[in-house]
Symmetry: D2
Subunit: 139 residues, 4 copies
Amino acid sequence: MKYPFKADFRVAFRDVDLHNVLHHSNYFYYCEKGRVELLRSVNLPYKKIMEMGIGLMLVECKLKFIAPVKFDDILNMHMGTDKMGKSSFKILYSIEVDGKIVSEGYTHHVCVNLKSNKPTRLPENLFAKLNSFQIQEND
Amino acid sequence: MKYPFKADFRVAFRDVDLHNVLHHSNYFYYCEKGRVELLRSVNLPYKKIMEMGIGLMLVECKLKFIAPVKFDDILNMHMGTDKMGKSSFKILYSIEVDGKIVSEGYTHHVCVNLKSNKPTRLPENLFAKLNSFQIQEND
Amino acid sequence: MKYPFKADFRVAFRDVDLHNVLHHSNYFYYCEKGRVELLRSVNLPYKKIMEMGIGLMLVECKLKFIAPVKFDDILNMHMGTDKMGKSSFKILYSIEVDGKIVSEGYTHHVCVNLKSNKPTRLPENLFAKLNSFQIQEND
Amino acid sequence: MKYPFKADFRVAFRDVDLHNVLHHSNYFYYCEKGRVELLRSVNLPYKKIMEMGIGLMLVECKLKFIAPVKFDDILNMHMGTDKMGKSSFKILYSIEVDGKIVSEGYTHHVCVNLKSNKPTRLPENLFAKLNSFQIQEND
């Protein structure tokens, strides 16, 4: 698969566990940092999205842990969107360290009106931007 | 489904996000606390398991977020084991707040020799104990 | 010193670092859990305080780390209030594991109006309750 | 005071609390990231220091919170060393957002032999490098 966006993060000391392995819960922390950068790259920082009264709430998330990640490793996070709907979408992640895939998975989001806490359509602009990051299957 | 084990946890202030919703990554924190209590309940605290040279590493995890959880809510976490293998197993979670299911999912674990970092058979005692928590399908 | 309140917490797996030592930042997580229980014990859960439009914001915090704390240790957290002012106060902590002091310090709070973000007087009831936890110097 | 080192970090979504304020415990997370970059800048990454059998354990930490920090703010962290001893030292932090000081404080470290868990002299090279970051008082 071809991931249209990439962000790099260095693993912080607190985020590994006593086995010196990035704690599984903290992969999601880095994935979130990746999403924030993906949105910023198209001039839609999540802060601005929230100011529009909208949240991109998670309804599901899944990750496979393929190889251990250690303190101070650099995560090369490849990302793209999938299953674009009117009010929901997935983000797919493929995380590499030193050219080797260490983790893969997705987060599934629903666009929510922050006042009513109810699902709402993705604003046109945001939909178009997310759509532009759609994952391409390889030939 | 019938979950043979239950543990209760109160949601801490730091663990919710700016929407006052338990952050998705932190559900896994509470699931881990649940696993630790499940193992302790059969006299196999994870500390003791590690002293045996064994780690129960995650190879996959998945959660659905069905309803928001807020600061100070009490999580009633129902748990059980599934897909018991010689060196791997799943733990399933069904989390309720005030009698309503808020999250469901699983963590998939492989038993690893902490010296070699390679998969190894679950010690007989540990296998038997985990097996005793097997999820029962409802009739 | 005599601390009028005590709460007990077990150290979670994620909260220790690769040295298997409770990460310094996470002591503050447990201190916060302690404050939340102190307030609950006098029927003023922090959730209710926030619903009154008030936050107890930190303006300073300090901890000494006297002996290492490990995964699965039980923290016996002794607490009390100090320097009670009209709109500010300190909470002092003395944390023990197995009868041995492992950490001591304080958090310094200011009562803030959550709408204006400005300091405001502690509500009378809250002041009285916090005052009742005042630390007593030993003779 | 003149701080010889600076590192910049963007505040992640998970690190703020329900008031949209960087949680006090998480300032220490960013300070740690700053220390790691300070050491890396003189070719002594903390990973390498640990491989030498040495840890720079915290014995005390303190921070003042002067102005709130929000999600997505950029922390400009100014740092330097102080109280250089044979086996201990302080790191001082002055954190700014948009040119305004938001937090100040320190962490106090002791050099520890990771095998014996006992204090030990700072290796000459590490002492010299830390010493080169000494804070200068203004005239």
